[in-house]
Subunit: 604 residues, 2 copies
């Protein structure tokens, strides 16, 4: 979908919106982390994301890959930057073709930096002199296919004296076919507002999104504003001076500055805001939260999970619940499917899951992981970690890069209790018996509908506890379960492998939508991944360390179990009754592992 | 499915069961009526039905057709009689092949009557001398495909002296491959019980179903018992003598006799009972009701409608609601489909409904129809008829051969009120918000599930009322509707033609089942039938009569409307609020049409 259409819709509704800009990281680990961050930040409801561009090496391929995957996996529109000088025409042609092939429909057309040391355009190095040339080429070659964004410079591209000339250039970009403007970052809001007025006078009718970069630290801020020749009001320097060595204080101040800027622009009628995130999460999140933007986001979630924007997966609306926190892996493993389930999982769908191409990885560098999760010496240490995760005191575990889903807050106590007894949960959902589709926590789908969930738990459990658990599970006619060891020893009370719909919605004039299911074949495909996280975690520690041996031992011996309470009319707590008195309580005498308190801000 | 498997399952569960025997009627009208009767009597839960056999003419074809259609349309197993003497081998071969082709899997193998006037078998007329020969042929040719039933004669086939020899014959039938025994009708229970004991002593292990024929009238009873050489206890003759000219009294007495016989046999351990219905309904129904069998029938209804037993339609579990009272027509019109919807109606299914082969017909002879429905002189007369139907005072209308469904009893008052105002309902269901799947009224599907319905109404309405109605319907966001005139003028608030699930069920370990839907294409296919019933009704009267003109006029001018209240959490009554103050109330001054009170028993 074209970003300009989403913007026009938001403006028509007089609704504020925002977008996030990222750059391609240099390392594979950095790329993995960025994906996780993009996924988490999607919960902040950006209208689209930007990914910056650099010719040479594999950088531009990575930009395209980040854009395409964000659309396919996280369902967020991507706006791909592209520069046009200092490169040759055939590379630009090729890159645009690839973008179209991958379903990327939004390009931010930029001139790009001139080669180091030069200040004048050298026609021998490329056919395009200005961004306008690229805009014109894209529009004339691809017609309406691409939405074309261009850069605006409220303080002049190179110097303040250029402002009026730059407005002419911007008008020329519009005439060449550009759809919208994203501005250079700035901190002088009055100047921006005056500049927008000038643009309008000059006949520029495109939406203009101001570029906001929350100040992250003193040194970086100084370098960046110098580089971009951005005017910083003296008051900001004065306020930064006494706190410049306190990163946290700088960040907090930066959040306040961004909030004030946006409030002022909002009063002046601005509705869209573009965040230069520098691949960081917290400041942007805090700004949006303080503005009260995030909780007021009430866009209709079409499904309980983010539908892919990939054309091939259009219409896909059923997925197994197992990969809920691992959308990328699910999409990768199913990318060769000819068709995707639509309306129901269906008998016809024989899920030939692709093999895992990359081994499962812990998303943290070993030192970070060790700081966050400590060095477990016993099962009790591990249980304590899971309990802390359930309690919101730990923001990730190898299986979950994000904190517990908000819907599961209601069963937090129950989850913490069974984790303390050795049922290590990696996925769960509470029951929901016909909440309105507009419900803040459970709702999804069009209005005037009702949504339902069967309570669901997925956990690892020690073999010693299995027999007692199985007796409980088998005694309850409304409960279905699958349990499997790493070696594939499957125990289940489901006679046939029919999919069990665990989330569904009833809407006016529609068949029942059933977007998440539990199914044996899918569970068996997922279990290899799920067990492999134990090994991945063990690699944080020395191979012959007791911690590594402990984690590998759990991987080899324990069972992975999923349990569905099919009676969704019972309260969510009832599924936890199955575990009463089972397992080993956490020994109080054992000290909690020595783990440095990780606060969210320390991730950045 | 083989009847013997169902019997063995019932015996294993120590559960009583029953079966109904019919004979092929002589006229086309009689055949139509028998189909309706078989359909109605299926609600009494027979384990299977029998259809008798006669060689010559089209009689045997009709037997096969009745068996195959009962299986396909009403989902009841059919046991097809077949005689083997007085015919030639190739005819038997052909009939068995046809039975197999049509999915009939149960044969009652009989010798059959010898040609009139002969008492000895004539080998020139056929290859088979005894039923045993036919049993042996079927078993050796078809292996396990057919369940083979045979006749037993507790009072001897020809005379009481033959009893012991006949038991030897019966044992020979078992040895030749027979699976079960259905006995000749009898009234001497003690003799039957003694005879069964003798059979067991002789090594006969097959289940034995006693044949029960409730006494229907004196003359027929006398003729039948003479013909079959059946001994009638003197007490029965004594009790019949004083009432022999009062048919109703005889029937009532006959019901009592059958009930006592069955109770006695039940105490002796008999579990299965075969009713010779003589194509009549009431006595059998009354016997089962008095025995308390019918209300205790708690076999799982797999779906809210009777699934077809046709192999081709195996797995079919979604149907449009429009043909709910017209399963035969739906099956006929879809018999050329390559596949049938399973799990959901699906976008892929493009319902290419076949044309109606036979014109729509009123199921009553003109004189009967006129007695039942009178001669309407005005719309008020017609409204009054619909009201009486809703009130249970009329047992059929051209659109419905059966009384109002039990589930609709809860909305009877509301239905009667809107019918009185000119919304002539031909189909309806109340809302149901998660009743247990074992609910006596709404339940279907496996246990531990929950079933749901959206309130649904389908009715004819005068064009003058349409505008007011449309304003109401369009104002209600949770209501969807389709309205169409005979000429095809469609009015709807459904933007796209997506199916609307109006009945669904949630079960342990399963995807959501959604067995009935409302959909535009199906509605447009159905509307031709629905309108044509007005013309069929008009043909009851002289072509140029005012009544015929009135009915034809309604057919040409009125609209057929379906309305779904998508908010199934509202009480069923709320859908009727849409009609408040609309339409024309029934004028009280107009006398109700002069219609003879039809009681159900008078249909027989």
């Amino acid at each position: 979908m074209k970003v300009i259409d989403k913007i026009n819709k938001a403006l028509e509704d007089d609704r504020c919106f925002w977008s996030f800009e990222y750059f391609p990281p240099k390392t594979q680990q950095g790329v993995m982390n960025l994906y996780d961050r993009i996924e988490r930040m999607c919960s902040l409801g950006p209208l689209f994301i930007d990914v910056t561009w650099r010719w040479g090496g594999k950088s531009s391929d990575l930009t395209l890959e980040l854009c395409a995957n964000s659309q396919t996996v996280y369902g967020v529109e991507a706006n791909m930057h592209m520069t046009c000088t200092n490169t040759n025409f055939s590379l630009i042609q090729g890159a645009l073709e690839k973008a179209k092939e991958q379903g990327v429909q939004n390009i931010l057309a930029l001139r790009g930096d001139l080669p180091d040391g030069t200040v004048e355009f050298d026609p021998s190095v490329g056919e395009f002199k200005y961004a306008t040339d690229l805009v014109r080429y894209i529009r004339s070659t691809y017609g309406d296919y691409f939405c074309i964004a261009v850069a605006g410079y409220p303080e002049g591209c190179l110097c303040p004296e250029d402002v009026d000339r730059d407005i002419e250039f911007l008008k020329a970009k519009q005439d060449a076919g550009a759809d919208l403007v994203v501005t250079q970052l700035f901190y002088d809001v009055d100047n921006f507002i005056a500049w927008v007025a000038k643009c309008r006078q000059a006949g520029i009718t495109m939406p203009i999104l101001p570029g906001i970069m929350p100040i992250q630290n003193y040194g970086g801020f100084k370098r960046m504003t110098d580089l971009c020749r951005v005017k910083v009001p003296q008051e900001i320097w004065d306020r930064l001076e006494p706190i410049k060595d306190d990163d946290q204080a700088v960040k907090d101040y930066g959040i306040g500055v961004a909030v004030e800027m946006i409030q002022k622009m909002r009063e002046a009628g601005v509705r869209g805001f573009h965040f230069y995130t520098i691949n960081l999460e917290r400041s942007t999140r805090m700004v949006l939260e303080r503005l009260g933007f995030v909780p007021t986001v009430n866009e209709v979630r079409p499904l309980p999970w983010s539908p892919s924007l990939s054309e091939k997966r259009a219409g896909e609306n059923v997925r197994p619940i197992f990969w809920r926190n691992h959308a990328r892996s699910y999409i990768k493993r199913t990318e060769l499917w000819d068709e995707f389930p639509n309306g129901r999982w269906g008998d016809a769908r024989s899920p030939a899951y692709g093999e895992l191409v990359h081994a499962v990885q812990v998303r943290l560098a070993p030192a970070q992981a060790e700081r966050k999760w400590g060095t477990p010496e016993s099962v009790d240490d591990i249980k304590a970690l899971f309990v802390r995760y359930c309690r919101g005191k730990l923001d990730s575990l190898p299986w979950s890069d994000t904190p517990l889903q908000p819907e599961s807050r209601a069963i937090e106590d129950c989850l913490a209790q069974i984790n303390a007894r050795g049922f290590l949960t990696i996925n769960s959902q509470p029951a929901c018996n016909g909440a309105p589709s507009t419900d803040k926590v459970h709702g999804w789908g069009p209005p005037d509908g009702f949504v339902y969930k069967k309570a669901y738990l997925e956990f690892f459990v020690a073999p010693a506890t299995m027999q007692g658990l199985l007796a409980r599970l088998d005694a309850e006619p409304s409960v279905t379960y699958h349990a499997v060891s790493k070696s594939g020893d499957l125990l289940t009370n489901c006679a046939e492998d029919s999919p069990n719909a665990v989330t569904w919605g009833v809407f006016p004039g529609k068949e029942i939508l059933q977007p998440t299911i539990v199914e044996r074949v899918s569970f068996l495909a997922w279990k290899d991944e799920a067990f492999d996280f134990w090994n991945a975690w063990s690699r944080v520690y020395a191979r012959d360390s007791p911690a590594a041996a402990l984690l590998r031992g759990i991987c080899d011996d324990w069972y992975l179990v999923n349990v569905v309470e099919n009676n969704f009319q019972k309260p969510s707590e009832s599924i936890f009754g199955l575990f009463d008195g089972l397992g080993q309580p956490l020994s109080n005498g054992v000290p909690a592992p020595q783990i440095e308190q990780q606060q969210q801000q320390q991730k950045q």
